[in-house]
């Protein structure tokens, strides 16, 4: 219990720090939200009126205070960019899409990388290991947006497995939505799959050199028994930490991929909000991402204890 409370306090402090940092960062970089919205033909009066309405001319501490007092009550205010639309409603439309995308790619990572990682460790040095090794090396080097374009081209325009741009919202038709998301999810997942395979393979191979493995073999265990009963349990511990990092990273990867596949998720919103200097929206998304990362780490800490009883709550 104490552990949970401690973690919760860490979460809150992190969120506060991050929100303050991003708030300051945005007041330092050039660009004016009012100007972005009204464009280059706006008159000085129109700009003044809008700045006044949005409170852009208030000093930084005051603006941060106003924002914070709203955020604590769950009110993230109105978007600067879209007149009369609240940040919460903008996020509410997009959150399910991004979560669905993240979950789909996480599942892909798990079901593809773990078997392949074990396989390539089991047959290390054999052809199957060499092939996966080379493939993972290549895939890791390809940036997600490029991978996304290749996938769109191959699966969308050549094979017609899906129609780029014809995304259906999950609230309208979940099955169709997931069917479309398979491809962006693949673009997000592939580089991570490659990383996890490599990581798992190395982890298993180095575990294999441990003393207890020799003992297990000397007791008459077969190769498979040693691997699945003894080694894997230990080899998976660092992999799980790594997977949590990957889960957080999926969010970052999906920002670019959403753009390429025209998926109306948080990532696309984040990019357009930064371009139009829509701080309230950026703030909210940054907070959300931070929260996910911190909570992920928290989950890992707990998992760690479950998997490895030697690790005690510090």
């Amino acid at each position: 219990m104490k552990f949970v409370i401690k973690k919760l306090i860490t979460l809150i402090i992190t969120l506060l720090l991050i929100s303050f940092l991003s708030f300051t960062a945005f007041s330092v970089i050039p660009g004016d939200a009012a100007l972005s919205r009204l464009g280059k033909d706006a008159t000085e009066e129109q700009l003044e009126a809008l700045r006044d309405k949005l409170g852009l001319d208030d000093p930084l501490p005051e603006r941060y205070g106003n924002w914070l007092s709203g955020a604590v009550r769950g009110d993230f205010g109105e978007s600067y960019r879209y007149e009369g639309i609240t940040v919460s409603s903008l996020l509410a439309d997009r959150l399910p899409v991004t979560v669905l995308l993240a979950v789909t790619s996480l599942i892909m990572i798990l079901i593809i990388s773990i078997p392949l990682g074990i396989l390539s460790a089991r047959f290390s040095g054999k052809w199957i290991d060499t092939v996966t090794n080379q493939l993972t090396q290549i895939i890791m080097a390809v940036p997600p947006f490029f991978l996304g374009m290749i996938l769109t081209y191959v699966f969308g325009l050549v094979l017609h497995f899906f129609q780029p741009g014809k995304f259906v919202l999950p609230t309208e038709n979940l099955r169709e939505s997931v069917r479309y998301l398979l491809y962006p999810a693949l673009a997000v997942a592939l580089p991570k799959i490659a990383m996890v395979i490599k990581f798992l393979r190395n982890s298993v191979i180095s575990e294999m050199k441990q003393d207890y493995v020799r003992t297990a073999f000397s007791k008459g265990n077969t190769d498979n028994a040693v691997l699945y009963v003894h080694v894997l349990k230990n080899a998976l511990i660092p992999v799980i930490t790594f997977l949590a990092m990957v889960a957080a990273e999926i969010l970052a990867g999906s920002i670019v991929v959403e753009q390429v596949f025209s998926v109306p998720g948080l990532g696309r919103l984040l990019i357009s909000s930064i371009t139009s200097r829509d701080y309230p929206v950026v703030q909210a998304i940054v907070l959300y991402v931070t929260a996910v990362v911190v909570i992920m780490n928290f989950v890992v800490d707990i998992l760690y204890q479950v998997l490895d009883p030697r690790v005690k709550t510090v």
Binding site: K40, A42, G165
Partner: protein, 569 residues
């Protein structure tokens, strides 16, 4: 240990993505060099070209069937080209097949709307869309004229001070209520209030209702360019939420708007023009970037996409017609003449001689753009001064001589600030940088994002040179007023006494012929004084799905979906 390995692969991946980004930038230059090389090769090796031709003819003859196939394909191609040009002659639109009522269109846009409030100043992209929702007392046509819309008739007093409009009989808003003269007054007053004192609209002294069909707009002073301002949207006074649920009198009515995704409109059955619109439903879909938009076009998720590159237009395939028009932009390199070497006319002229406009046009637009020499859109043919096009020609030697005369025999350093999100501007700037290096001007590119550009360059006037395109309304003074000394939009710090004088005179003149003459004079001053390096009005290649016809270009920001109709395939 594995962390190390992971780190290594991570580094590799970072390295590669970095390369990818760099490559994207370098690629355009490499393509450009290649292109230039080919051009010079063309000239130099005419003879070998002829040889190659002979050889290929011989090969074709050997190939037999293959050869005939090639010619037949070429024939159909030229046939199609002929069809297109004849279409252009008739009405600048595509006309083929029999119209079928109904149907829908998805129009791809690469930017979201600024606001649905028609009275708030917005960008061209937004005006393109809301053109279908709202109408003013008068509205623009594709030929650049103004025709009565919400008004059925108008009258201008001889001194161009009083404009009288008669309300059209039986015209209704999208909610079915009739348009009243009070709504008209309300709209004019609301527009004036939102635009503010410093706007051009402050010239209006008063809008007064004469009777239930007539309204009289009085100006503070005579101004014969006022009528285009009366394209301001007429909206109902009773609508309490003009942004959230917009109501107008246009051919399409509002259905829904999802920020960042789309806006959906449907046919308004009570539209005052009989038989218009033909389509039942129109969707403007916002797509994050141009490459994605092109992919969606290929996949058939959108029906119309503007601003294709020449390469895209060539590869799009049979499902689409390519309609050619112009972007109605004054595209050029604008210079801060307030300080440094650029404050000297000779230096600016040297830049004009040092930039090869044809090369830019050929490379980026397949030679389809209209080369310009001053700040006016060629489609505004009444005012456009053609003579300005030939003031400068590409002449690096003359440019060097001018630089030497101005006291810069070794050239100078020039930073071009460009908005990074517009590849057209970035590509142009890169080509210019390369060309200017040949006359000794050491040019570097500074890419900034759009918001930064707006604040630093456009509002702050804090730059040396920038590549950008200016759009315009149908009012000529709107385009060139920014060159007058101290104008609020004069971000170039340009100042020329003679220009100020002629512009002021042109602005105040009522007599049409004399006004045109003076505006042309203004344009010549801008050209000869090298106020900026004017390049072109870029070609606009629009892909329109084969089942649609009637796509129409306007000389102002308008995507007229009412002109579109479905055809039998």
């Amino acid at each position: 240990m594995f962390f190390k390995k992971y780190l290594k692969s991570f580094k590799i991946s970072c390295f590669f993505s970095q390369i990818c980004y760099n490559v994207k930038d370098n690629l355009i230059m490499r393509e450009y060099y290649e292109f230039e090389r080919k051009q010079t090769m063309k000239k130099k090796h005419l003879l070998s070209g002829v040889m190659a031709l002979l050889l290929s003819v011989a090969l074709c003859a050997c190939g037999g069937d293959k050869g005939t196939e090639v010619t037949s394909a070429e024939e159909t191609k030229s046939e199609a080209a002929a069809e297109e040009s004849s279409g252009e002659e008739s009405s600048n639109t595509l006309s083929a097949g029999t119209p079928v009522p109904g149907g829908s269109v998805i129009f791809g846009m690469t930017q979201d709307l600024a606001s649905l409030d028609p009275h708030v100043e917005t960008d061209a992209g937004t005006r393109d869309v809301v053109f279908n929702l709202y109408e003013g007392l008068v509205k623009p046509t594709s030929t650049g004229d103004l025709v009565p819309a919400v008004a059925s008739d108008y009258e201008v007093s001889d001194d161009a001070k009083v404009y009288t409009f008669t309300l059209r009989d039986g015209i209704t808003f999208h909610d079915g209520t009739p348009v009243t003269i009070e709504d008209v007054k309300y709209s004019i007053d609301r527009y004036a209030e939102i635009q503010g004192e410093s706007s051009a609209f402050s010239i209006v002294a008063d809008a007064s209702i004469k009777d239930e069909k007539t309204i009289e707009v009085t100006l503070n002073e005579s101004y014969s360019e006022f009528l285009p301002m009366m394209t301001l949207a007429i909206i109902p006074e009773s609508n309490e939420d003009p942004v959230g649920s917009p109501i107008g009198t246009g051919p399409f009515k509002f259905v829904s708007y999802t920020p960042g995704q789309n806006i959906v409109l449907e046919k308004y059955d009570g539209y005052w023009q009989e038989g218009v619109p033909s389509l039942d439903k129109v969707e403007f879909k916002f797509i994050a970037d141009v490459d994605t938009a092109y992919m969606e076009l290929q996949a058939g998720s959108i029906d119309i996409l503007k601003y294709l590159t020449t390469a895209q237009a060539e590869t799009i395939g049979e499902d689409y017609n390519i309609v050619e028009g112009s972007m109605n932009l004054v595209h050029g390199m604008y210079l801060n003449s307030g300080e440094g070497p650029l404050s000297e006319t000779k230096v600016r002229q040297a830049l004009c001689y040092g930039v090869d406009r044809d090369a830019i046009n050929n490379f980026l637009f397949g030679g389809k753009s209209h080369i310009i020499g001053t700040h006016m859109i060629p489609n505004m043919s009444k005012y456009y001064e053609e003579k300005a096009e030939t003031v400068y020609s590409y002449d690096p030697e003359k440019a060097k001589a001018l630089l030497e005369e101005a006291g810069y025999p070794d050239g100078f350093d020039l930073v071009i600030t460009v908005p990074s999100s517009y590849s057209q501007h970035v590509d142009t700037a890169q080509i210019i940088a390369d060309q200017l290096s040949q006359i000794g001007v050491r040019t570097t590119l500074n890419q900034v994002d759009w918001s930064t550009w707006l604040e630093d360059v456009y509002k702050g006037g804090n730059f040396q040179a920038t590549v950008i395109g200016f759009d315009g309304t149908m009012v000529p003074s709107d385009l060139i007023k920014k060159y007058t000394t101290g104008d609020s939009k004069n971000f170039m710090h340009y100042s020329n006494e003679e220009y100020d004088k002629v512009f002021a005179e042109a602005f105040a003149t009522i007599d049409d012929a004399k006004k045109v003459e003076l505006y042309k004079q203004c344009q010549m001053i801008l050209a000869e004084d090298a106020a900026a390096v004017f390049i072109e009005d870029p070609a606009n290649l629009v892909a329109v799905r084969k089942n649609l016809a009637g796509y129409t270009f306007y000389p102002t920001a308008a995507e007229d979906m009412a002109a579109l109709y479905q055809v039998a395939e």
